[in-house]
């Protein structure tokens, strides 16, 4: 493939896919270790009604109203979960599952009933985004990377996921020690004067920011998969958290790149006519990576295996 073909058609979707995958995988490491992996699932579901309502109120698909809508929906979800848990006397996991599926379903209904035909907002986009359409038509080839006129036409989603990735990385960098200590031993962290509930809340907020930014570009399937699969696979490769983070980034990048290529060319290689959804393929690749590490990863441990 030549630069003239690759740069306008594939470079930006690939970068957006990679940035979104890494932005979700990074906080996913801590969510999985805290046994809060469901939160990623939850956030990406709750985001939908929030974004739809934001669109209905403002009439535009723009980053700020969408983020606010998603944040408002997250608050509603948290209140709902608490209410269901207390009033119904139901365990938290069940209350979460109930809330998120209900809110997501409500989002689907809202979406169907509202006039969103003029914008990129429908159920398919909510699930698997529009990665393939995030192309850079003004680019003529690699030289366009140095052409200010062409650069000005880069898809705005690229900047959003890049900003989310920078934000997530910065948060993990600065809050690394409190995150690690409070994830491993919350009581001890409190005796060290750490505000563990604030740290936990900050982690969820950062994950939500990554989810909303990624959701916009790549849909909820990737968001859910990237919060869980690369970190879980990475855990099976190492017994050190910093190394685990590195593996999870590697797996996220591999999933995004391989998934994008396989979705675009895989079906053609085996004789089918059409490409398949890049988001679906990226998520599938991440699942396959997890399966492979679960079978052959060096740091697997049987549940309940006795300490050596």
């Amino acid at each position: 493939m030549t630069g003239a073909e690759f740069v306008p058609l594939s470079l930006t979707p690939l970068l957006i896919g990679v940035f979104a995958a890494v932005a979700c995988a990074l906080p996913g490491n801590f969510l999985v270790l805290r046994r809060q992996a469901l939160i990623g699932d939850a956030i990406s579901h709750v985001v939908l009604p929030g974004i739809v309502v934001a669109f209905l109120v403002t009439g535009v698909v723009a980053a700020v109203p969408m983020l606010l809508g998603a944040a408002a929906a997250a608050v509603v979800a948290v209140v709902m979960i608490e209410a269901i848990r207390r009033l119904g006397n139901i365990e938290p996991g069940a209350a979460m599952g109930l809330t998120f599926t209900t809110l997501f379903a409500a989002g689907v209904l809202l979406l169907e009933q509202s006039d969103t035909s003029g914008v990129h907002l429908d159920v398919e986009h909510a699930l698997y985004g529009n990665l393939e359409s995030l192309i850079w038509l003004d680019a003529m080839g690699w030289e366009s990377l140095f052409d200010p006129v062409a650069l000005a036409e880069l898809p705005v989603e690229l900047f959003r996921v890049a900003a989310a990735l920078v934000g997530v990385s910065g948060f993990l960098w600065v809050c690394w020690r409190p995150l690690v200590v409070s994830t491993f031993d919350e009581g001890f962290a409190q005796t060290m004067g750490m505000r563990t509930n604030v740290i936990g809340m900050a982690l969820v907020i950062v994950a939500a920011i990554a989810a909303v930014a990624a959701f916009d570009a790549v849909g909820s399937i990737i968001v859910i998969a990237m919060f869980i699969c690369p970190p879980a696979a990475a855990r099976l490769m190492t017994n050190r958290l910093s190394t685990q983070i590195a593996w999870s980034v590697g797996f996220a990048v591999l999933s995004a790149v391989l998934g994008y290529i396989l979705a675009g060319y895989g079906p053609l290689w085996i004789g089918f006519d059409n490409a398949v959804s890049a988001a679906g393929m990226i998520a599938t690749v991440s699942g396959v990576i997890l399966a492979l590490t679960a079978l052959w990863g060096p740091c697997r441990k049987r549940l309940g295996a006795p300490a050596v």
Binding site: L33, V174, C175, W176, R177, P178, V180, V181, T183, F184, D185, G187, F188, Q190, T191, M192, G193, M194, R235, T238, N239, R240, L241, T243, Q244, C299, K301, A307, V308
Partner: protein, 268 residues
Amino acid sequence: MSLELAANDGVAPTGAGLASSPLALRGMTVSYGQKPVVFSVDMTIAEGAMTAIIGPNGAGKSTLLKAALGIVSPLAGQVTVFGKPLAAERHRIAYVPQRASVDWDFPTRVIDVVLMGLYRELGLLQRIRGQHRDKAMACLERVGMAGFAERQIGQLSGGQQQRVFLARALAQEADLYLLDEPFAGVDAATEKAIIDVLKSLKDEGKTVVAVHHDLATVAEYFDRVFLVNTRKMAEGTVAEAFSAENLDRTYGGRLATGQIDQLDLVAG
């Protein structure tokens, strides 16, 4: 009641008693849901002594420690640490939680757990240097775990895990050590190693408080006891407060007479 007065006998608090006590609770009441787990407990820990907190299962022993540390918020009650509010003197306390309270599958090595004890020194971003590693290794040395520094924590036995927790507390270089069942489910070698370290801490003038289950070793290991069953039952030196009568009241008759007889107690 003579038990109250007993706080000034035996291994007595040095200095002005209550005002400078390493740990003093007043009217501590904690409840999970409707039922109070700890009710209106006053506790004054003697400086430089080893105190065992004793009581039946569910008597609120761990909760008492957690309330003292601010991990659980009490319904009522005050905590003073070395005569000051907890927040001001937090850095003088080291806490060893119950071993079962954390996930030992966590991807971290022994040395990294001990380095967690240096968080106050390191802060958010300061790099870990040779001096920090040396200090962590010295703490591991003290509990006999230096050879395991690079191991993943899940590969340790229960007793070894407990010793790593103790090493992390040592790294904090505190004046008051609060331990939640440090001897629960550990091997004899570990029990010996831990009690040796705790006694050496006492020799350095530090104060040690441990939730303890094994009544048979109370007299051998500890100077003072604090008996609790939701309410304070007794407090004082082992010789005075660790009596058959107090144990009987604390355990509500759940200890068999034979068990109490074996303890070779002073007459209640």
